[in-house]
Structure formats: C-alpha cells, structure tokens
C-alpha cells in the first residue's frame, strides 16, 4: 500500500494505492487517527487506486469519521474503485459516509 497525502484549504486528502486491509492498514490508520484528532478535521479519502478494502480498514475509517463528526468535521470518500464501491454497497456503509464521484466534488462538498 502506498499513501499520498496533501492539504488544500485546510482539507486533508489521502490517496490510498494498493490494498487497504489488516496487513497493510497501519500507516493509513495512523494517518487517520492523527488527522481526526484535531478539532473539526476535514478529511477526503481518494480510493481511485485502492484495489481492496477489508473490515479492519473499514473499522478505522468508521472510527475516524465518528471522531471527526463529534467536532463538526468529517471523513468523506471519493473516486471509489470498483472493488471498494462493491464493499461499501454490500455493507451499506455507503449510507454512513458521504461519497463523491470526484475529488473536486468532495472539495466542493466542504465548500472549498
């Protein structure tokens, strides 16, 4: 798994490349924990290059999303690759997260 991060207008954006699962999730989970720890953190996760996601990775996303929402922040998702989209639909977690077609849409969603 490879991570590319950037910050635009106070929004933290993370691109996850490869597999995001129990074996590889630690760096992404640590990144999510660090960013979501600040008040009102606004996070975008770009899944365009994510090949696979498992329940451990989903749990870290849910945890970060809940932490952010407690302080009026959020974790939103964009550009879901097919395997990631299927998992979010099957688990109905697509109802839990705000999901955007593109990264630009996600930024617009944050009012950027």
């Amino acid at each position: 798994m490879q991570l590319s991060e950037k910050e635009l207008g106070g929004v933290h954006i993370l691109l996850i490349e490869g597999r995001f699962d129990a074996h590889t999730s630690t760096p992404a989970t640590e990144w999510l924990e660090e960013k979501s720890a600040s008040t009102g953190a606004r996070i975008v996760i770009n899944f365009s290059k994510t090949e696979f996601i498992d329940s451990v990775a989903l749990a870290s996303l849910v945890s970060a999303m809940k932490r952010c929402r407690q302080t009026d922040g959020d974790v939103v998702l964009c550009e879901l690759s097919k395997p990631v989209k299927i998992i979010f639909e099957l688990t109905r977690l697509n109802r839990a997260f705000q999901i955007y077609e593109t990264e630009v849409d996600a930024m617009v969603g944050y009012g950027i």
């Binding site: 129990a22 329940s55 749990a59 870290s60 945890s63 099957l90 109905r92 109802r95």
Partner: protein
C-alpha cells in the same frame, strides 16, 4: 682463629638465606591460600549459578560472592530492563549512595560496553568514603543493560587481575540474566497459550453444538478461527413455529474481537430467549442500542445478519446490519447476493436497517458466509472472491445433485482448502447453510 670466624660468617649467611627462604615460602603459601580461596569462591559462584532460576537470587549471590572474590568492602549492581525500569542493588544494603551508583552507570554507558572503571580514572566521580571502584558492564542482547562492581579493597589496592575477575563476573551474570529472562519469557508464553486455549474452548462452547431439527429446513454450520479465538459467531434459537438464526462478524481478530463476539452473541441470545417472536429488525436495533457504546469505545463494529423462519409459511424475514456475503439461490436457479439492509452494529446509534423477506421453498439454498471465505488468500496473494460462492450455491440448489446442507458446507470448505493450499488462514471463516426441504 680466622678459620673459626670464616665458619661463623658462613653459618650466619646460611641462616639469613634460610630466613629469606622461609619468608618467601610464607608469602607463596599466603598467595596460594588466597588463590585457593578465590577458586573456592568461583566454584561456589558457578555452583550457585547452575541452580538459580530467580533474578533476585542471582543478584544477591553475585553481590556476596563478588565482594568475597575481590575482597572488597561492598559490591553493587545496576539492572536496566528498560530505560524506565532501572533498579540498583547493594551488598551490604545501603552502604552506597544510589545517585552515585547511577552516575557511575551513566558514565559506563557513555564509554561503551568494554570500559572498566577504576579509581585511576579521573572521568568517574568517587565521593565520600569511596576510594576505588571496579565495575563491569552487564550486556544482554548486545546492549548494556546494567553494571556490576565492587567498592574499596579491604587491604591494599585493586590490581589488574582484580579487573579481569570483575569483568569475568560481569560476563557470567550477563549470560545468566539472559537465561533467566528467556526462561521467564517462555513461562509467560506458556501461561498465555494455556489461557488462550481455555478462551478458545469457552468461545467454542458459545457456538451451537450441532444444528437443530427444523421442519422444512436442512441445516449445516461451522466456524474456524484464524487465531485461537475469533470474532465470528452464529446462533440458532427455535421456538414454536419460529426459527431465528443469526450470524455476526466483529471487525478485527484475536482477543478484542472475541470479547465483543461473546457480548454480541449473548445479547442476541438473551433477546430471543426473552421473546422468541421478536422480529429481526427489532432484534438488530436492540443489539445496536445495547452494544453501540462498547463498540464505539474500541473503534470496532460488527456486521450481523438475523433471519426468522416461519415453519408454517416458509417465509424468512431478515434484517442485515452490513453483513456480506449472504448468497441466496432458488432451486435450480441463479444465485444472487442479498445486500445488507442497514449499516453495521456500532457505526451509528441506529442501524438504519430495513426488514426484507423471502420464501425458502424446497431446494432453495441460503448461505450466510463471513468474509474469511471470499477473502481467503493463496500463495500469490490472490483472493478467492465471490464467484465460487455463487457456483457452490447453484450447485447445491441444482436438484440433480440432491445435495444436503452438510454437503454444500463441505464443498465450500474444500473450495477454500484447494484455493489457499498451504497459505495460512488470515481471517475467521464461518458459514451457515440453510436449504429448504420437503416439509
């Protein structure tokens, strides 16, 4: 006359020589006795080491014998298992300032593992009654983890051989401590393993032992944890015309998942025991209400499928909190995935779930599976995927095969074994197979 004087001189010279020789013999004898004492002390130390199993005993014996071996007024030892856990020991007790010992230790660490400290060394502070010290490092796993030393020779000064002896004791106690720590680690691992075995047995006992006989249904179920304990569970509760079946998968693995699994299973069991006619949607909502805080506190969630089958109507009502995959295949038909009807337990304070229903006629197959099956890996790192699940469901629902639920279960197990080969199972694998049969 001259002859007499000469003889007397010779006798006197001889007497002097004898006295000198006697003195030399006394010195040599004294030296021999001292060496013998040292040998006895070293022998005692070696004997004691061979039977010591506790760290405290090792330290106490080393301090006493080292003081005796080097004829010192006192001895001391520093042991640093971690940077926070540093202990000092002395023989006799409280003869040295602990802060001073720590300063010596800090100096020794700066100078590296092979440095010896003596009173000649101006870089090390000697305060109060301390005239001379010798200290050797205690080295474990190639790192300085302590120091052992002596203070003030009782008679005279510490010599070069004394330094060698101190260093030898340092090396000896280092290897002894490594043995003790290894022994403690092995014991701790054995204790942990035995506790895990017990936890595995307890957890196994939470799963149904066998499957119930339900009118109109043929059942098979089983669960294999990736580790000693797992986060999957399933349960069956039958009362009157209603048969409730539930399957859950706590995100994550190991002990934390196992504890939440036990809580989830118990909550489901309590609710169905209280009201056997409870509808799946209400059951999921109540489970979520009960466990939401517990799951949230540890940043985990559980997916859960609950179904209720009516033996009269053959109708299955179900609610599915984020669980996947659930595969349904009508007799002789095409398999399809039953999507979740709500978000997993522990994500929100409400599951946002809906309740769906289907009819389970004779020959129809319903498989509730945990992701350990489709996400099983082979040695190339490939995943088994979903297609094989559909193939097996369709094979089981094909009347030509006349497959029992047990046979469908076994086919799935065989598929995952064939696919994974020698690759270790990475996630818990649980499967409930329900096949409609003639009522």
């Amino acid at each position: 006359m001259n002859t007499t004087t000469s003889a007397e001189d010779t006798i006197a010279q001889l007497q002097n020589q004898i006295a000198q020789l006697e003195s030399d013999v006394d010195l040599i004898t004294g030296e021999l006795v001292a060496r013998q004492d040292e040998l006895v002390t070293l022998y005692n130390l070696a004997q004691a080491y061979s039977s010591i199993l506790s760290e405290d005993d090792l330290i106490n014996i080393t301090l006493r014998q080292m003081s005796e071996l080097l004829r010192s007024e006192s001895s001391f030892l520093v042991l640093s298992r971690t940077s926070e856990n540093i202990t000092t020991h002395q023989f006799p007790h409280n003869t040295l300032d602990e802060a001073l010992i720590m300063r010596w230790y800090a100096s020794l660490k700066v100078h590296g593992r092979d440095v010896m400290i003596t009173s000649d060394d101006t870089q090390f502070p000697l305060l109060g009654d301390v005239d001379a010290i010798i200290a050797a490092p205690i080295v474990m796993e190639k790192k300085i983890r302590g120091m052992v030393g002596v203070v003030n020779k009782k008679h005279g000064n510490f010599s070069a051989p004394d330094r060698k002896k101190a260093f030898a004791v340092g090396e000896q106690i280092s290897s002894q401590l490594e043995c003790i720590i290894l022994h403690e680690q092995i014991l701790a691992q054995a204790r942990m393993q035995s506790e895990l075995d017990l936890a595995r047995r307890v957890q196994h006992s939470l799963l149904p032992q066998g499957v119930p006989n339900i009118t109109g249904l043929d059942l098979a179920a089983g669960s294999t944890s990736a580790r000693e304990v797992g986060g999957d569970f399933y349960d069956f509760v039958a009362k009157d015309q209603q048969f409730v079946f539930a399957l859950g998968d706590v995100s994550g693995k190991g002990m934390s998942a196992a504890l939440l699994m036990a809580m989830s299973r118990t909550t489901v069991r309590n609710l169905t025991a209280r009201d056997a006619t409870v509808c799946p949607l209400d059951l999921l909502e109540t489970v979520n209400n009960s466990l939401y805080d517990d799951f949230s506190d540890v940043s985990m969630f559980a997916t859960m499928f609950v179904g209720a089958y009516n033996t009269q109507t053959r109708k299955v009502q179900y609610a599915n909190a984020g669980h996947s995959p659930v595969v349904y295949c009508p007799a002789n038909g095409k398999a399809r995935m039953l999507e979740a009807t709500g978000v997993p337990i522990g994500v929100f304070e409400a599951t946002l779930a809906e309740q769906e229903e289907l009819i389970l006629n004779a020959g129809d197959v319903l498989m509730i599976i945990t992701d350990g099956f489709p996400e099983a890996e082979n040695k190339k790192g490939e995943l088994m995927g979903y297609d094989i699940l559909f193939e097996i469901a369709e094979w089981g629902a094909n009347p030509d095969h006349n497959a029992s639920a047990e046979l469908i279960y076994q086919r799935m197990e065989l598929a995952v074994t064939n696919f994974s080969g020698d690759t270790a199972q990475t996630d818990d694998q649980t499967l409930v197979v329900i096949k409609g049969n003639a009522a």
